[in-house]
Symmetry: C2
Subunit: 553 residues, 2 copies
């Protein structure tokens, strides 16, 4: 069988950098980026990224070093998604909602050589730097994007455009030696504890960029509106996917419903995505009767717990097609999906529709497998829609591991699978339905109860706006369900009404909340309810007021 | 930066086998294959392929061994595209137009352990086996697909279905240890000499299957009509791409225009592909006036020299959208493409249209680069549409090399590129235009002349059906153009008419044929003109009859 071998002509390490080089070639004169009155072509974007990579090399950013960003979805932030890897360095786009102490902690862990900061956030970064210097940690070199009057800017700060002009046009792009070398570090949202630095490889970023395209049947040259933060799993890998498709990035500093509708009309947006609260934003901006004139239907891709079917139907009516995904930072963003097309919804009644919507669906082409397994025996649960197991996945679009945390990495990888700590079932049709976070589920009288199932029922009460259920310790049963409810404006309700409602909806006895509290729910920046906060509160309820009483959160 | 590493959860060798496993999961109940009155679901296809792999293991086909096929596009041939790799073996689908001596030579070179033969071709294989036994080579084990009355079937021949029933349902699929391990061997058409065995890896087959989807913006669950031979670059990787998309394979034993139209109507075909002569077939089946009722427009993907614009326009009018690609076995099939959409053609006159159609286009997302270079200096030619260079490519969708032919492999890989031996130019818009095969081009008075450019002009003569130009040795100029022309039925023409026509069309003096001959052109099975045969004929012309005379080929 001799006669052939791997060589430079037939083996090129997979890296998203290739997408930009090809886009220049194939889509050179097409628009790559639109931002307010600015726009660039793919040729221009490529040239700017090459100069950026060159400039980074010149100021001493060597291959393997970390470059952080603290910025909204601007063209500069897009350029950094290519420029940093093209210098051989590793990009870490940080969550701009971090406060100075949290940012300082992250920087200590990350040790970036340089941090690119948008002028909007210079104050936060300045304060974080002060905390670092108290701590005798030398802060990273700062590059400022835009103009600021802020006085805390460190002495040796560089201006983004000045940095770019340092760069050489003929810089030789540094491709990874090994496609499994890291390209980026994304911090988890920390809904289950301290944020962890999730490391992505060039290979996984390349393949997941393709997965994004397949998952939503995206065609060449889409127009993408940047409503998902680039600091979330590298904007779900869309910066790279857009280059692969020669699409147009419509950048936004702030996401409002007005800006969304305006961009759709002006730029003929075809796709946007983000956490499901974007649907609330769109829905709440107009009444059902207000006519929405959109040049074409827009695909909206959301991942996370969906809002009420009322909101979904309203948004659909405006001209948006909603696709629901399930994922996490460790899977480079959404990894499964359940398309909510018109056809899926035609024949079903409202309840059925809600159930379909809540399915997590099936894995995409590039993810090797997503399964629901018994975590002890590692056997798959039967596809009966009832047997609860842990959702697990494996494949080439899975993180390398956690930054400087081998123990954490080893804890989540077991027997060739990533363990999500999410509980779910497999339906007879093959779709996965997430039931609960392992941490959030309630064990009452030895039985596992899904808080998500309880929430789904309570959410159908006409007065209820939002709800979260957690376990409350109980001496006899172990735990009992405790519901925290936000009512719609101008409505009021007693806890016994909620309990009665659950009984009427035939919830099993074990799932009927013993305690119900009313008020606003504590959420993180992506709109996830902070259940650990509620669990602490739940502990205190019985001892103060006893069961079945109305209490303001 | 410690804390992470490559492991089984985040690194899975890329292999098309994964597509079938996922298709079972996601599209289990959807149709995978339709053939006459038979049909299978993806779940059934997967189960059959597992049994096939198991049976191969049982009869002693070990990982790394070669399994050949000699069959049309039947369900069994489709199953072999998965079953053989799932046993860890290497698939070689042989050209069914080979005659017994050519097949025997190929088998000697390939040394397959088993050969799967469709009943239609058992005679040919039986005769080839006889030649092998004369030669004291022991022929491979034969598995017969279908029923035959032929008497030359060897004693220990197995029946395909009997073999399948040997297989175990719980066979553990053998995934490649290294994704660069070979998955298949495809023989070149041999238009430039003896056929070579081109070796594909699991990685390249996986990535090129994705490339196929991207190239044509294919959506999930297409209906694909099998009009391209599975023995051509593994059916351009469509067996694997169809599994990735959960599409339906409409298998065909024989491709006629009637069957094409019938299948489109009955099965709602969305895509078909093949050599450009398929367009002639479709066009010639109906007159312009005959109404063609198709349920939807069909994408037709062709690669090779296109027929006249008359035919293309007719086929378009019937409801087909034509996509033109350029490729070769060494690139796993078509690798560049030029979409001929309605929009491209709207503003152009006829001449302009023909020119656009003849462009080879640009490389696809998964091919790293396709360039036109000076083969001496290896620098890219300017994008001026004039400077001729050699077309070269590199990337992960390039063959591993030639089977048992290290010298041949080393000859085509140079400086990290595959050298096509095709001459081309780069247009200012970035698209590549192929000018000629290096071997076919003429050097006259020191100047390189593209025979394709001469042919393009002669083909516009209203009486000309087909034309091929080759170089004829000349003591003074080195070579001179010699045209071989096939006229349309009932037309006749003298050689001086052709020469005059070329002069009127302002062809430069060096490109005007000195000799013109009329008759049928010698072609191989894909419809490629055998120019080496014509070159031999051209040598004899002058000595017999002198220049500028009409001669029957």
């Amino acid at each position: 069988m001799e006669g052939y071998s791997k060589c430079e002509a037939n083996f090129v390490p997979l890296s998203p950098i290739s997408f930009l080089e090809r886009a220049t070639f194939v889509y050179g004169k097409s628009l790559s980026i639109i931002y307010n009155d600015m726009s660039y072509t793919w040729k221009e974007t490529r040239d700017r990224c090459v100069k950026l990579a060159s400039a980074l090399s010149i100021i001493g950013v060597n291959p393997g070093k970390v470059v952080a960003t603290f910025a909204p979805n601007t063209p500069a932030h897009y350029e950094l998604h290519f420029g940093v890897p093209m210098a051989g360095a590793i990009l870490s786009a940080l969550n701009t909602s971090l406060d100075p102490p949290a940012l300082a902690t992250t920087l200590q862990q990350l040790e970036p050589q340089v941090i690119f900061v948008d002028h909007q956030y210079i104050q936060t970064v300045g304060e974080a730097f002060k905390l670092l210097s108290h701590d005798k940690t030398s802060p990273p070199r700062l590059v400022l994007i835009g103009i600021t009057r802020c006085t805390v800017v460190p002495m040796n700060t560089l201006d983004y455009n000045d940095l770019l002009s340092l760069g050489k046009d003929d810089f030789k792009i540094i491709h990874p030696n090994d496609e499994c070398d890291p390209i980026s570090i994304n911090f988890t949202s920390g809904s289950t504890g301290k944020p962890k630095g999730v490391v992505y490889s060039h290979r996984s970023a390349y393949l997941n960029s393709l997965a994004v395209i397949f998952r939503y049947d995206m065609k060449k040259m889409p127009v993408f509106l940047w409503t998902v933060d680039m600091f979330r799993c590298n904007g779900w890998c869309f910066p790279w996917a857009l280059a692969a498709l020669g699409g147009t990035n419509v950048c936004l500093r702030e996401v409002t419903a007005e800006v969304i509708f305006h961009s759709i009309v002006i730029h003929k947006v075809t796709h946007l995505c983000g956490p499901p609260m974007i649907l609330d934003k769109i829905a709440s901006s107009k009444t059902n009767e207000q006519r929405v004139v959109m040049p074409t239907r827009v695909d909206v891709i959301v991942a996370g717990p969906l809002p009420s079917s009322e909101i979904i139907l309203k948004v659909k009516k405006f001209g948006f097609d909603i696709h629901h995904g399930y994922g996490m930072s460790e899977a480079l963003g959404p990894m499964t999906n359940m398309s909510l097309r018109m056809s899926d919804q035609k024949e079903e009644n409202n309840d059925e529709r809600v159930k379909i919507r809540c399915r997590e669906g099936t894995h995409n082409i590039l993810m090797e497998n997503v399964d629901v397994k018994d975590p002890e025996t590692m056997t798959s649960v039967p596809s009966d829609g009832n047997t609860i197991g842990e959702i697990m996945f494996r494949g080439n679009t899975v993180m390398l591991g956690y930054l400087k945390n081998m123990e954490g990495t080893q804890n989540v990888f077991k027997g060739g699978w990533y363990m999500t700590r999410d509980l779910g079932v497999r339906n007879p049709d093959g779709n996965i339905v997430m039931k609960d976070r392992k941490l959030d589920s309630i064990v009452t009288n030895g039985e596992i109860v899904s808080t998500i199932d309880i929430e789904r029922i309570i959410r159908t009460h006409p007065y209820v706006k939002e709800v979260a259920v957690v376990g409350k310790p109980d001496n006899v049963l172990g735990e009992t369900p405790c519901a925290f409810v936000t009512l719609k404006d101008d409505y009021s309700l007693s806890s016994s009404c909620i309990i009665k409602f659950c009984q009427e909806k035939s919830l099993p006895r074990s799932m009927i909340p013993i305690n119900v509290c009313f008020g606003t729910l504590p959420m993180n920046s992506t709109g996830k309810v902070l259940k650990y906060v509620l669990r602490e509160r739940a502990k205190t309820i019985g001892s103060i007021l006893g069961a079945n009483v109305t209490l303001t959160i």
